[in-house]
């Protein structure tokens, strides 16, 4: 029975393969095409993108790095992303703990749903009030601290949701055993629960990192001092100034994309797991 089917099966597999290669080219092409101008000299770039560069010279990258003061933007991004994630994990994980182990407690339940609301709301609904609060009342615009605080508040809902869902899967006996041992809740959390939460912690970190590193909107309303801008708004600004010099503009763009592409290649499995976790629990 199988024998008769085999040739047809093979043919459909070949067609499938061809279709996949075609789609892969469509997906990759835009990313590869923007590499062309970054290696072109100024004369070459005048001849358009089909004039492939002779050599892989890195002059454009060097020049773009220098003119955009990329290291400053990079530092700002690292500080913002790093601090936000650190604070977010510290206060988010411990807040999720009582919500998960005392599900029926009214206070914790209300708190949990309050955080859940933030999962659905668009940032735009708090954008104008935040602009007023940070800019006029607290004078925290144009500071990294202000930006970090806004980001912590924005990322808490998803962090708390993921953590509490995960803690609920940890057996109740863990808690009971440690109570008998005379363990306080603080020690119970840090010595027993937190170490068990490693897989979900890395998923939460990756999710938040992708959002924080790539975001444009929050810095757009929080920061207008060039020296404090993180990478994406800096790229946006640089593009505005160098719009006619594709080779420099795209070099900055590639510089901005590289850290994440590298990280993705290194941690592919965690990335994909981080993004799809929670998706199919049903």
């Amino acid at each position: 029975m199988n024998k008769g089917k085999k040739p047809k099966f093979q043919l459909s597999r070949i067609l499938l393969r061809i279709a996949l290669i075609f789609i892969a080219l469509l997906v990759l092409l835009p990313m590869l095409i923007v590499l062309v101008p970054t290696f072109q000299t100024v004369q070459e770039s005048g001849q358009g993108i089909l004039r492939l560069p002779r050599t892989l010279n890195l002059d454009n990258y060097r020049e773009a790095w220098r003119q955009s003061k990329f290291h400053i933007a990079l530092r700002n991004s690292v500080v913002i992303t790093g601090s936000t994630i650190f604070i977010n994990i510290m206060i988010g994980s411990i807040a999720a703990f009582p919500m998960a182990i005392r599900e029926k407690n009214k206070v914790f339940k209300t708190a949990f749903y309050t955080f859940l609301v933030g999962l659905m709301l668009p940032f735009q609904v708090i954008m104008i009030p935040l602009y007023v609060l940070m800019g006029r009342t607290l004078k925290l615009t144009n500071t990294l601290t202000g930006t970090i605080l806004v980001y912590v508040a924005m990322t808490l809902p998803i962090t708390i949701f993921f953590f509490s869902q995960f803690i609920k899967t940890i057996p109740k006996e863990m808690e009971e055993a440690s109570v008998i041992d005379g363990c306080g809740y603080l020690r119970m959390f840090y010595c027993i629960f937190f170490p068990l939460m490693k897989p979900i912690t890395s998923a939460v970190i990756i999710q938040n990192m992708i959002f924080l590193w790539n975001d444009l909107l929050v810095p757009l309303i929080m920061i207008d001092k060039t020296a404090l801008k993180p990478i994406m708004p800096r790229v946006y600004m640089f593009f505005g100034q160098y719009y006619n010099q594709w080779n420099l503009a795209f070099s900055v763009l590639i510089l901005a994309a590289i850290p994440f592409l590298l990280l993705f290649l290194l941690l592919q499995r965690q990335f994909i797991k981080g993004l799809s976790s929670g998706a199919v629990k049903g």
């Binding site: 892969a24 990313m31 089909l50 735009q124 912590v152 808490l156 790539n214 444009l216 994406m232 503009a249």
Partner: protein, 296 residues
């Protein structure tokens, strides 16, 4: 003994405080001030905010620009959500079998999702650029110059050109969720259906799609919320132009906050956007969890 148990139990409330304080102060409080602004005529400058009730909300229906932006947001959301799910589903089905080569394809399709929307938008701005852009250059070389267009400048094409970008960027992300969903469908179901002589299409309709229901719900809701919230693509690609053909609600709220200083009216538009998101999410949940219990 009982008392010491109680005090140690109380420490659980303390655990909540740091997160709750930050969240209440920088998220919930602005949310309520936003609601309040939306009922005033505040221009962002005046010391006094005059309470005008629901007039801003009535103005939304009269304001032609907001009407256009609402329509555009709806079109963008429906089209992008629908197509990205179709694309993601087809890709997932094509790559269902586990093999090394399929893993390579999965990674390739997922790569754009790792990029910042800012980077993606600039890549496509370059692709679409009328003179030196990649698409028109390639068309010229292929001798198909008649097909070249001003992709983002033509009012009839701009919206379609913009909508292609999220499909390119997030299609692979949708695929990943569907792939995870496919793994949850027991192999035996397919095996026994095959023995009964079910064709691929029959198995797709009766086993695969029902088994993917949680993944479909998740993808639809995430794409809907994400599409309504879209900002970066349009901000960079067209800034709402040409004319108002690609103006969406998020961009309008941004403009009202930073340029026209209509804080009251802008807040009302933001509240309306929230309502639209909530409405769509509930509708999708109702539609898809009909006769079912326990999903989500």
């Amino acid at each position: 003994m009982a008392k010491s148990r109680r005090t140690s139990e109380n420490i659980l409330y303390l655990f909540l405080i740091p997160a709750l304080v930050v969240y209440l102060f920088f998220y919930v409080y602005p949310m309520f001030t936003g609601l309040y602004y939306s009922l005033t005529d505040w221009d962002g400058m005046a010391k006094q905010k005059i309470f005008i009730g629901f007039r801003n909300y009535l103005d939304i229906f009269r304001d032609q620009y907001t009407r256009t932006a609402t329509m555009n947001s709806l079109i963008y959301t429906v089209v992008v959500t629908f197509l990205s799910n179709i694309i993601g589903l087809v890709l997932a089905l094509m790559l269902e079998r586990r093999s090394n080569i399929n893993n390579v394809f999965r990674s390739i399709f997922f790569v754009p999702a790792v990029l910042s929307p800012v980077v993606a938008a600039f890549i496509w701005k370059y692709m679409y650029s009328p003179q030196s852009g990649a698409i028109n250059s390639l068309l010229r070389v292929a001798g198909l110059e008649i097909l070249s267009r001003d992709w983002l400048g033509d009012p009839h094409l701009a919206m379609a050109s913009v909508m292609l970008v999220p499909l390119w960027q997030w299609g692979g992300n949708v695929m990943i969720v569907f792939l995870a969903g496919l793994m949850n469908i027991p192999e035996e179901h397919h095996e026994s259906a095959k023995i009964d002589g079910a064709s691929y299409m029959q198995r797709l309709v009766h086993i695969t799609l029902p088994g993917l229901r949680p993944a479909i719900i998740f993808n639809l809701i995430i794409s809907t919320i994400g599409s309504f919230k879209t900002f970066d693509f349009i901000f960079i690609l067209t800034y709402g132009g040409p004319g108002f053909t690609t103006e969406v609600l998020t961009l309008q709220i941004y403009k009202h906050a930073l340029y026209t200083a209509k804080f009251g009216y802008g807040s009302a538009v933001a509240v309306m956007l929230t309502l639209l998101i909530v409405l769509f999410t509930i509708a999708e949940l109702k539609l898809l969890t009909r006769n079912e219990e326990g999903y989500l």
